[in-house]
């Protein structure tokens, strides 16, 4: 190779890249490879593994808990994704010209995102309490007999999802606000002159031009949704009778690895999570050509 073809930057790129690359390799990539390897073994809780081929995977396919965990994770993610249209609403309200206290609203909306997940989950646990929690007591005033949120099947999932939704709206709103600011005002002016009403402008200008931000949010919300663990653990608690029906995929991994000591099986679950999230992300990226407008 002639030196003319060599990188004009010389050795510099290596200097810049190697620390991160090496660190990621050692602390993340290698463990990932090891996990994939482990998924084909039967590993005891203290090491000592035997190769079992695809046995873990066939067990995975036959395990109803896995399907339930997938469903739970999907439902959770779907509910949290609802935070995006909600945030579009709030962001557009916030961006009204001449709206007073905009900064105050923005701060208040943003606080849930900044709270420590495990800490705030404890607060919500008390709020959701079936007997003395303020939620059910308020519902009682309205004549509604509230369910026992965190100890009833399906309601527990909704409870966790609402927590996730509550935490993410502020973040979504800020991203969308920035997106809104990026829309040139002239477009709106031209539309008003053409006689387009508020709603019409929203539909034909605002939303399409917001699609890049919406796309970004939906990708990261999906990835984050599939990583549900901390809030679930803190809100429900591991001894909760409906945990096995409400667990997310990551919780299933944790339970298999540390509760029932099946590290090989747990590794297979991890590979499954990776595959599902990878496919979903790929799917979203493919789909973006259809609905995302980049100017």
């Amino acid at each position: 190779m002639s030196s003319a073809r060599r990188s004009p930057d010389g050795r510099w790129p290596w200097l810049f890249v190697l620390p991160t690359f090496f660190g990621v390799l050692v602390f993340y990539f290698w463990p990932l490879l090891k996990t994939v390897y482990d998924s084909f073994t039967d590993t005891g809780p203290f090491g000592g593994s035997t190769w079992v081929g695809a046995a873990n995977y066939s067990e995975l396919i036959a395990d109803t808990e896995v399907y339930r965990a997938i469903v739970n994770t999907v439902v959770y993610t779907a509910i949290v994704l609802l935070g995006i249209p909600l945030a579009v609403l709030f962001a557009s309200l916030l961006n009204r010209p001449g709206l007073r206290f905009a900064m105050v609203y923005r701060t208040l909306f943003f606080l849930p995102y900044v709270a420590m997940p495990t800490a705030i989950s404890l607060v919500w646990r008390i709020i959701y309490n079936g007997e003395y929690g303020i939620l059910n007591q308020s519902l009682g005033v309205l004549g509604i007999d509230g369910p026992r949120w965190i100890s009833t099947e399906w309601f527990a999932l909704v409870a966790v999802a609402l927590l996730g939704l509550w935490m993410s709206i502020g973040f979504n709103m800020i991203v969308l606000s920035a997106g809104l600011k990026g829309i040139p005002g002239e477009l709106y002016e031209a539309a008003s002159l053409d006689g387009a009403g508020r709603a019409q402008q929203f539909r034909s200008i605002t939303v399409p031009l917001l699609t890049p931000s919406i796309f970004f949010l939906s990708v990261i919300t999906t990835i984050a949704g599939f990583q549900l663990f901390d809030q679930l653990f803190a809100l429900l608690g591991p001894e909760n009778p409906v945990m096995s029906k409400t667990q997310s995929l990551v919780f299933l991994f944790y339970s298999a690895a540390f509760d029932t000591n099946e590290r090989g099986y747990a590794a297979a679950v991890a590979v499954l999570i990776l595959a599902v999230v990878g496919l979903l992300t790929l799917f979203q990226f493919r789909l973006q050509r259809r609905w995302v407008t980049y100017d």
Partner: protein, 429 residues
């Protein structure tokens, strides 16, 4: 041609990683070492870790360490605390890299897992006299004829009740001759009188150790017998049905309700009149607003006329791969001795296993704590465990707990548990 530095780096990284993995995985073929007590205390040095999970007991453990240092001044013991929910997760992570704490707490359900995987040191070299501890506990910490854990404390179950609430409801207080029928009848009367005030007749936690194991054993059923599940036994089903009926009649909260407000919290805030529970709650009882209204009696008898409780206790164990075998053995021996037991009893946080040291514990509260000791001596059976207890404990949690108070007969549920439990037991190596 020069090797590009990128490839170079990757190769080096790969070599480092391979080396790391090989050394990490290499330890499992060793046979578990045996603990041996050194001869000269002053010569023994080292920094060892002692892992525990109960923050309540930490002061007592510190005191024990102080007393230990009087004999062994050159050994430094640091306490490592992890919350019970994550204690064993952490231990298993540490065990995977041969980095278990030198000495640590163990419980029945996890014991065989660690022992069978050669993580624990044998105790022969400590020259302990195991007659000093309850037989059932020694059996709990023995695998294949060899004992690996020294009982530290023991818990049994008794009937706790609130005298004031009984008086308010004008119901006769329990006696030591009560049967399950008496319990249920009283619960009915208590419910009638107290539920308008939002108070439950009882707030049993529907836990295995506290509720259904004692019930099953009292009725002549079993949980684990000769390596097979006892849940298909009709006597077991009867005991389970007793609890299910209690929930159905509204005498005690359901499992779901218990997940939101624990039975003991209800009882200790005066919102329930009775509960079956263990002696680990004594210090909590003394801190509660109802502390002056409480009393303790032996459990009610099953229809068969018998009463039984399970006995369980934390065991102190030593890592088989400790880097400080001498210091660890010395510390473990001290933990197993009378002095350490007395310190525990005085602190009131746990009921020591060493025979004859329980007086301080019995005197630590104005309740009939001797009941727990009598239970241990007279009518307790060892807590049921197997090599991978966690797997079928999960079945109990998933299948039994939601079924209490439901319409399905507990005999059917029991059958389901038995089938799956036998499957899991069969998979154990």
């Amino acid at each position: 041609m020069r090797i590009p530095s990128a490839v170079n780096a990757v190769v080096v990284a790969a070599l480092v990683l391979t080396a790391a993995t090989l050394t990490a995985c290499g330890g499992n073929s060793d046979t578990a070492g045996d603990a041996k007590v050194p001869d000269d205390p002053a010569q023994v040095t080292g920094d060892i870790t002692y892992a525990i999970w109960d923050v309540n007991q930490q002061p007592a453990m510190q005191e024990i360490i102080k007393a230990f240092n009087q004999q062994y001044p050159n050994v430094k013991v640091s306490i490592s605390l992890a919350v019970f929910d994550q204690y064993f997760t952490k231990l298993k992570t540490q065990g995977s890299s041969d980095n278990l704490p030198d000495v640590f707490w163990m419980n029945g359900p996890n014991f065989q897992l660690f022992a069978a995987n050669k993580q624990l040191a044998g105790l022969d070299g400590l020259q302990l006299d195991f007659a000093n501890y309850p037989k059932a506990l020694n059996a709990l910490y023995t695998l294949d004829g060899k004992q690996y854990g020294v009982p530290k404390d023991f818990d049994t179950i008794a009937l706790w009740y609130n005298k004031k609430l009984f008086a308010d409801a004008k119901v006769a207080e329990p006696t030591a001759d009560w049967t399950w029928d008496d319990y249920k009848t009283a619960a009915g009367k208590l419910k009638a009188a107290l539920s308008p005030k939002g108070i439950y007749a009882s707030s049993d936690e529907l836990g295995n150790q506290g509720n259904y194991y004692p019930a099953i054993l009292s009725n002549g059923g079993s949980i684990l017998k000769d390596g097979k599940s006892g849940y298909a036994d009709p006597k077991t089903a009867e005991a389970l049905q007793f609890w299910s009926d209690m929930v159905k009649e509204g005498y005690t909260p359901s499992g779901a309700q218990g997940a939101e407000i624990r039975g003991r919290d209800r009882f200790f805030s005066g919102k329930a009149a009775m509960m079956w529970n263990g002696n680990w709650l004594v210090s909590a009882a003394l801190k509660s607003p109802v502390k002056n209204d409480l009393a303790i009696l032996p459990l009610p008898k099953a229809p068969s006329g018998e009463r039984k409780t399970v006995i369980h206790g934390i065991g102190n164990v030593m890592s088989a791969k400790t880097k400080n075998p001498e210091a660890s053995a010395a510390f473990l021996k001290f933990l197993s001795g009378k002095e350490a037991a007395l310190i525990q009893a005085k602190a009131g946080a746990a009921n020591p296993a060493y025979t004859g040291t329980q007086t301080d514990f019995v005197n630590s509260a104005p309740y009939a704590l001797k009941t727990f000791i009598d239970a241990a001596d007279q009518y307790s059976e060892p807590y049921p465990v197997s090599k991978d207890t966690a797997v079928w404990n999960k079945l109990e949690l998933d299948l039994l707990l939601p079924a209490f108070g439901g319409d399905k007969p507990m005999a059917e549920v029991g059958q389901e548990v038995a089938t799956k439990m036998d499957e899991a037991l069969g998979k154990e190596k």
